[in-house]
Symmetry: C2
Subunit: 425 residues, 2 copies
């Protein structure tokens, strides 16, 4: 059957690409179908996409390998585009207004789960080093899942939504610092104050410098770009800008998604935003579900099959949820719905998986501790969309913002009802 040389670019292995097409096709079918089903039973579409990933991943069908370099690149494009869209949708001044609230939620939401995780693990007989890895894995919120769900519920521009975005970005920055510290500890290095500052500095500094410089330099640049008459060029150039900032963020020791988010923040006030959003939205329809399916595909159901995993995992789930929900109540002065904020911070997703895999690879975590963390990641990720949904449903009508028509809520997140000209189907 495969006797033909590939009839395209002369690449090392074009039949491998053909095989990938089958995976992509299955991934598209599964994410869209399960996303639709999730919506029909009143759940956010992202839940269906995560389930599609578990289904296609190594635990069940074994079709989707999230470590495949090409699929990985598509998934990364997905999360970068998602964060770019979230940034585009975020008004820096609105974010600044909730700054102290977000700072408090983010800070407390890192501290409580970390301390709680270490204490609980120690109490259950886990040694100190794996306990620290477990505590660290409990810290960072998966901004992708939270933002996507908030967007689907029309809550991304609400005060609660802004607090969550701000706190989750902060979480990512803190998580980055913790990750580098834990990685050194796991690697056997000594912890020095200089080392911590050396890693924390660029991670925090990047956003500040990028947004400050970008807000001055970029709007005039995009006035020029708007003069380009090539159809579709503006949106793709804006995406290129986001990819370059993502690269820069990685190069200076921050996170790629922070760079993409900063690019969105910078472009938010430009008159070209609507067109940029529309373009990013369409690309997001394709790329973003690949990211969530990849997150799902990293879940190893087999790692849960031990008494210890279930016992410790259950305790970590409790700590993980309680710590973030409590963090939502930490800013006592905040007049929005504190439960909504806290619950939105619960999902750990891909970030928790990185800690778990790092710990397993370094031999610090036993397979059953790895399974426990996996359980924590699964439950916190999957419990959030339905919980948020029911909280938003019980909001007073005036707080029930309609899905934002300005872009992301309606289009980007691939969630709300599609406007159709003809009533077939």
């Amino acid at each position: 059957m495969h006797s033909f040389p590939p009839f395209l670019l002369a690449a090392p292995d074009a039949h491998a690409f053909a095989a990938l097409l089958l995976v992509l096709g299955a991934l598209i079918a599964a994410t869209k179908l399960l996303g639709e089903l999730a919506q029909r039973v009143g759940q956010p579409a992202v839940l269906g996409e995560l389930l599609a990933g578990i289904l296609l991943g190594g635990s069940v069908l074994g079709v989707l390998d999230p470590a495949d370099p090409v699929l990985h690149a598509f998934a990364e494009m997905g999360v970068l585009i998602l964060l770019f869209e979230i940034g585009l949708h975020t008004d820096l001044r609105a974010l600044a207004r909730v700054g102290s609230t977000a700072l408090t939620v983010g800070g407390v939401g890192v501290l409580l789960p970390f301390v709680g995780g270490v204490v609980v693990a120690q109490a259950l007989g886990v040694a100190l080093m794996p306990s620290i890895v477990i505590g660290a894995a409990l810290t960072a919120t998966s901004i992708g899942i939270s933002a996507r769900v908030l967007s689907e519920l029309g809550q991304l521009s609400s005060p609660e939504g802004q607090v969550v975005i701000g706190a989750a970005v902060l979480d990512d920055v803190i998580g980055l610092i913790i990750l580098s510290i834990v990685a050194s500890l796991v690697g056997g290095a000594a912890l020095t104050a200089g080392g911590v500052v050396g890693t924390a500095g660029p991670a925090i500094g990047f956003v500040v410098v990028a947004v400050a410089l970008g807000s001055v330099a970029v709007p005039p640049l995009f006035r020029l770009v708007a003069g380009i008459q090539l159809t579709g060029a503006l949106g793709v150039i804006a995406l290129g800008f986001a990819l370059l900032l993502a690269w820069l963020a990685d190069a200076v020791g921050s996170a790629m998604i922070i760079g993409a988010f900063a690019a969105g923040l910078i472009l938010h006030p430009t008159p070209q935003r609507k067109e940029i959003e529309a373009s990013a939205t369409q690309l997001g329809y394709f790329f973003v579900p690949i990211f969530f399916a990849s997150v799902g595909a990293q879940v190893e159901l087999a790692a849960l099959a031990s008494r210890d995993a279930l016992l410790i995992g259950g305790a970590l789930v409790a700590v993980g949820i309680a710590g973030k929900v409590a963090a939502g109540y930490a800013p006592w002065w905040f007049r929005g719905n504190k439960l909504l904020v806290g619950v939105a911070m619960v999902p750990r997703g891909e970030v928790g998986l990185i800690f778990a895999q790092m710990g397993l690879a370094a031999g610090v975590l036993t397979p059953s501790l790895f399974g426990a963390l996996m359980l924590m990641v699964i439950v916190t990720t999957f419990v959030t969309p339905p919980l948020l949904g029911s909280i938003v449903k019980r909001l007073p009508p005036d707080a029930m913002a309609a899905p934002d028509q300005s872009g992301i809520d309606d289009l980007v997140a691939g969630s709300t009802r599609r406007r159709r000209g003809t009533p077939h189907g």
Copy 2:
């Protein structure tokens, strides 16, 4: 600088992906800028994208490596989306009406350059085996470049455009057969009639069977898909269908681009076409220029630096252009512009490069013969857009179709003027 573990999916090498973002950013900037420049001097944008590829490729800056698996996948996605768009835009009945014309142009356009190439090479002292490889490399039109240029000129739905698309698809099928025969010859195998039929059968049969079955089964399926309320799902599912057909085409021994084209043909008559086109168009803005830049990046300017390469290459350019232009005049009954048809068949692009690289890798072609083929590919590719532009300009006004408003001409090809709300720039 790179002391941080990547803060995303736990992949083998996320910093490698970060490095790729820089390449993608540079590629977007270069293709959009040079595409715009090309348009401003009255040339098709695709010319600028090809030039951007040469500039970024190994010959000049060395930034863009078209053999990188991820970039290769993006480029393949680009050509698949392009062919899917072309298929969406192609009315099968209109194509059938010009069937015998397209068949004649395609057949003669393979025969003349092949025979001409072998004869010229032999006359210039080249041995038989490399002469056959050279002749084969002269046969297949790069449908991507021709279709894109025709689309930019608003000629994709004209009778000439339909003939070119039909003939170029036929070319690809014949080219596939020739490629497999030449690959066996180069590999030292004997040529048998059974082998030729065995490869030709599926290559030709696939389109017929896929379109026949698909036209019956797919419209009801997409009536169901249209019932999905998830925003943006329809367009992405249609793309998934194209990717699956591309995979299937490859699996049965046809070409991936033929599968994507067939998917477009099948979806053309459905009521969902407009929405599917709009989605493919937006994805195309991102992916398609990556394909053309990759084609450009495969050009090795150094391979041209020999007297033999220039001499033989010059002769091959003459044969390559003359053979295809003559093929345009072969269907004497055709009342459209025969010169337009012939010139549109001239570019060899990526297909010619595959033959050249295969011959070089097998040791059949010397470096200077490889350089000669490279020159043929470069000149036939780069000479076509401006030639077509000037032919279309001299058409009588009634034949000067306005850029088609139904989709591809205006949006997909990224060529015509962007409608802007505000007149800045």
